[in-house]
Amino acid sequence: MVMDIHLNNVRIHIGRIVEEDEWEPMGPTPKPDVLDLRYWDQKLLERYEPFYAPMQDFCNLCTMGPCELSRNKKGACGIDLKTQKARIVVLACLIGASAHCSHARHLVEYVVEKFGRDYPIDLGKDVEIEAPNIRLVFGIRPKTVGDLEAVLDYVEEQLVRILHSTHTGQEESYLDYESKALHVGMLDHVAMEVADIAQIVAFNYPKGDPDSPLIETGFGVLDAEKPVILIIGHNVLPARNIMDYLEEHGMENDVEVAGLCCTAIDTSRYDPKAKIVGTLSFELRAIRSGIPDVVVTDEQCIRADTLKECSKVGIPVIATSEASARGLPDKTNENIDVIVEDLASGRLKGVLIRDPDKVGEIAVKTALAVRKRKGKKKVLMSREEVENEVRKCTGCGRCVFSCPHCLRIDVAMGLAKKGDFSMFKEIDRSCIACGKCEQACPKGIRIVDIIMSVGMDIKVKGRSRAGRGPITDTEIRKVGQPIVMGTIPGVIAAVGCPNYPGAREELGSIIEEFLRRRFIVVTSGCHAMDLGLYFDEEGKSLYEKYPGVFDGGGLVNVGSCVANSHISGAVIKIAAIFAKRPLRGNYAEIADYILNRVGAVGLAWGAYSQKAASIATGFNRLGIPVVVGPHASKYRRAYIGKFWKDVWWVYDIRSRKRMRVEPAPDALLVCAETKEEAIVQLARLCIRPGDTPQGRQIKLTHYIELSEKYLGCLPDDWHLFVRSEADLPVKMKDRLLKILEDEHGWKIDWKSKKIVEGPIRQYDPGFNPTIVEHVYEKYTGEKLLR
């Protein structure tokens, strides 16, 4: 007997395979394999040639070497310097993406175990496009947390296959390694999206709420009068259990929970009573202060000497992650009271607890017991101790040469010997408290402690807005058009790690410049917490001055590192919601749309980590440029376009012509040395070929004004972005027309004040650019000869 069964809107899970209803036609590249988007990367890399600035002249990855590769020589395996550097970039991105992917796997496993595979993904009624990165890359609409497992299976498989390619004797062209780095970056955004969706839905974080709570932030949140649990890392599970334990036992006001790095951010999304101490550069300071009674570490961005440093000041450590077991004994299944007694008495310096649901009780009980035994906490060195330390200094200068910022500690010491300690305050503002100076010092001077005691404001407290998660579809509907037209001049995404010489003052002043100019500013991770500590004259932080909406003049904190996926997600949603471009498995078309039309630029005023490298590279593949701080030159690779080369062309779908366009944006990754330079770069990289005259006029106004304000002159390249007189800033029109005529040889009709000849191209209201052949063919129905 034959039976016909008709099923509509049915979802069938077979193992990890997700079958789903046809919500959108499948695009050309669902679940792209390592080489499937290589053609798109080649388009990008033709324009934005990789620029290499090697850290070392050597390769010593295999035993044929070490090989000296200077001046692009080949090593014993045949690899040249550029290709070797590209391989290192791939490895850095793999490390970063693997960190997020493993983090996501932990969260999803936990949520599936606690709530089941069918636990629904519901990000609120205003977020219908719940997972733009997953839809775009993997090609599904995830409806339950179980669906996320299949997505992670794919990401993990791809990461392993790319890791394979970094073995000795593989790629011959640096461009192929770069394509792989871009692939990893894209996968990273998918993994981050999985992680953040899982924790938002399972732990009831804010779901796109622009008015999410304000969280106390700053070193001053560490209360020396109370038992303090310091949580460090990126995975919220143990910290969440601490918050639950305190609430269940009515102890919320008895014990302080404060965090460093993204664990702090995610804990405050879970429970606004949690507090944020600051970024990684405050870890050594927080430990050396002696205020914490117990330190709980999870994973990523945690100092590798945490246990040693904590032990020096008698703080027990609870390690909770497989990624950082810290040489500690595994006490997961032992009696909790015995563990607490061992830790509080100092018999054990720390323990490894592999079950996050046991951490809360152990941490709270330990904090209480330690606090009881410790008595009054001594926070900083006394002035007498400082003076004794300073007297040991011989001025050898080794501290300066070991310092990542070359801070003149020797000069500060010299002045301090004469009773002038003021320079240590200056140094504190730039110091990342890495402690390398102390290792270099032949006299063993406690330099970090001196800087803390003399220079640091230990009472500083600000407020940052709890990470709100996704940008809502409603917000995108409102701002999609102004962003694409250019009338909202740009989206600035301040993300990354705190590794910049001027610390938070520089970041704050960069961001406030753009908020005042009504750009949209989104932020996440350590940048987000630093912005909570940038104050105006009235002592208000930027979050208290600017609304949390995704709109011009809004400052949006999406959350922790993994919430960066909501930033790429918002940009993807502009293409989907405003331009109605299909997302499903349609990566190149969407990235092409973003590159040509959406004026979004990343800012990583650091960065230091491999995760930041991977995140930035993921933004780059999506057509979003990133400006980084000077330390990021150590990532070794930038993507910089050459405006003098014949690579600035597009297919215009309307006129059906291949045509030259202005070099906009002319870089995908570039370092700025100072905040002044960064501000101008951010404004210029918001310009896109798709801008309307009104939009271009607004963008050029900001670019020129900022250049004149910070660089003291007109930008060198402003004329390249002028298509007609309508693009010129109104107030400067006559002056600029004169310059175009006199300095650039353009023909101007002065009666009508119109440009007659000169621009790279004329503005055309129907201009519809793409650099991808199949997109051109799709919308014209015309086959291109290739």
């Binding site: 030159s633 050459k642 870089a667 330079e677 002159c713």
Partner: protein, 159 residues
Amino acid sequence: MIADVQVSRSATTIKPKIVVNMLNRAKRPVLITGGGLLNDERLVEFVYELQKRAGLEVIATGGSSRALIERDVNVRMAVFTLHYVTQFLTDLQEYDLSLFLGFRAPYYLSRMLSALKHFSNINTISICEWYQPHAKFSFPDFRKKEEYYKALEEILEVL
């Protein structure tokens, strides 16, 4: 020397007089300035005098253009970062000698000197406060700021 730089060949340390000799011999030299000039008037004054006496072209990065323009220095480029400028030097080969001065972030300059060492034929001289191993020639480390300024003054005197 700036922190932890590993090189196969370290820069030859150079005295002010040799800097001038090389400048005089170069067909088309250029001075690249960095963000350190934003809060060092003496460096700005040095650039002014150097351009006046040697007619040197100046490319300003890191926002240093503002102070230089205010001091009547003729700046060829101002908006491009050191990354872009290094690419110009490598690709366009307009200059045969480049001097670098006043970078607030010496590690950034270090990377760019590395790029120029490996991928171009341009002669590079760092006249910054810190020894730059990736340059072809570099001032040594100056432990005292006054000694550094004195070396710059010597360049002007010999010119």
